[in-house]
Amino acid sequence: MTTIDLASDARPNAGRPDAPGPNLGLGLEHRSRGRAVRNQLARIVMWTAFAIAMVPLAWILWSVISKGGAMLLDSHWWTNSQRGITNRVVGGGAVHAIQGTLMQGLVTAVIAVPIGVMTAIYLVEYGRGRLATAVSFMVDILTGIPSIVAALFIYALWVTTFGFQRVAFAVVLALVLLMIPVVVRSTEEMLKLVPNELREGAFALGVPRWKTVVRVVLPTAFSGIITGVLLGLARVMGETAPLLILGPYTKNIATNLFGGLMPTLPTMINQDRTEVLQPAVDRVWGAAATLILLILILNLAGRLIAHFGRPKT
């Protein structure tokens, strides 16, 4: 603590008359002691808060890994579905659910990313006046929509109004609604980080605005945008409400987005969550561990791209 030194007399030149000593009548010593105490107090409060926040996190990770981690070590887990396997039998895998989760996530991203990125480009690069304010406000509202509401909205549209069957694509639509605002907001942040001087530099060369955006602004913000997309994707892949309402579970591998049911990791967890028989319980924990692993990988990929892809300015 450097503040303590000021108050003590153990400084090498403390005796010299011309040295700026501590006893100049400025009250330095008192103030620094009070500050040291407050500093210590704040430190303790922060560490406690941090510890409290970490406890549930560590607990969840520990129980999921200890109970479901073993399932992931079995190679069948990654190659087989649950087809023909009952809750009394050990065996089978989660490939059907993993595949469903990845496929729905991918299609969601394919739809949501262009819409989200272009909305963000509009807001940052072009948007002026009323329309931009309105769009920004809408995105805010969309951000606040609970996933169950998005799911019910799609249900009302897809099933009640149009009379279609519940299919994976309806799930995707609900996830798109949830992903768009995340992509818009993160992309907006990244575009705002691009210095205005770069845009002006391009304008001054006689480059039109749209080309400046496509060739200068977007490449500069690229890694940040990808990071935002991956983090947004990680969020929607763990989303459950739309799946429960629009995408019931099945034990079989499914690849058709427009017909039949498509299993996913969250619905696989939900399916057997009331089971008491051990093989089924193990599979629930296994599916949970798998989901956490997938999302962890996406998050890590996002951070890695953010770290290595950033252009040097």
Binding site: P208, K211, P311
Partner: protein, 258 residues
């Protein structure tokens, strides 16, 4: 290819705030014109009206006329993008594009405007870098990022980038203010060389620099903050620095300003 610039009764606004009031001046081709004046008097605002960069700021607008030779760049049918290809600009802070290599930075204007021919581009890289006195320093690392150069080199890279699109006028807003004396001299030499091909307008806070590089000097001033800046006096540089006809000019260049 250099062009004369004729400014008549030009006013520049940010929203309702008038930053520059009633400027009329003529800038001869193949000459260097320096604009000097205290901070906030509208030099940057004025120079940005010469290539229609002023209006990219939301709410900013311009009144009056600017002619390049006989063409009014503010005429209704003129595309500002085309104006900016004719009137290039170098900024106060070097701003190379961080995602591009040195070579790509130099020909960014050409490539982004659709030129694809590799040999033409390679020739333009060399010619522009030579013209900007940077070729020898970077010829072995053309594919390295432009942001990896020193500040002075980056600024010369930006000058190379500006002249690669073959403009007829070159505007420079305090191009040396972020540079050390050696880099500053390099850029001043460059300006003197480029004068034979371009019409150059340079804003500077450095009186010696204005005296060294320019043929004519314009002094901007403002009555007080919040008031618009005006062109107080414009004359041959040696006249402005030896025997200005207006008191405020003399006060400013002799440092007795206040």
């Amino acid at each position: 290819m250099a062009k004369r610039i004729d400014v008549k009764n030009l006013n520049a606004y940010y929203g309702t705030f008038r930053a520059v009031e009633d400027v009329t001046m003529t800038i001869e081709p193949r000459s260097v014109t320096a604009l000097i004046g205290p901070s906030g008097c509208g030099k940057s605002t004025f120079i940005r009206t010469l290539n229609r960069m002023h209006e990219v700021i939301p709410g900013a607008r311009v009144e009056g006329s600017v002619h390049l030779d006989d063409a009014d760049i503010y005429a209704a049918n003129v595309d500002p993008v085309g104006v900016r290809r004719t009137v290039g600009m170098v900024f106060q802070r070097p701003n190379p594009f961080p995602t591009m290599s040195i070579a790509d930075n130099v020909v960014a204007g050409l490539r982004l405007n659709g030129l694809k021919n590799k040999t033409v581009l390679a020739e333009a890289v060399e010619a522009s870098l030579r013209a900007a006195n940077l070729w020898n320093e970077v010829k072995d690392r053309l594919n390295k990022p432009g942001a990896g150069l020193s500040g002075g080199q980056q600024q010369r890279l930006c000058i190379a980038r500006a002249i690669a699109v073959e403009p007829q006028v070159l505007l420079m807003d305090e191009p040396c203010s972020a540079l050390d004396p050696i880099s500053t001299l390099a850029i001043e030499d460059l300006i003197t060389e480029l004068k034979s091909r371009y019409t150059i307008v340079i804003v500077t806070h450095n009186m010696q620099q204005a005296a060294r590089v320019s043929d004519r000097t314009g002094f901007f001033n403002l009555v007080e903050t919040g008031q618009p800046g005006r062109l107080i006096e414009m004359d041959d540089t040696h006249k402005i620095f030896s025997n200005p006809s207006i008191r405020a000019t003399e006060d400013y260049i002799s440092g007795r300003f206040g």
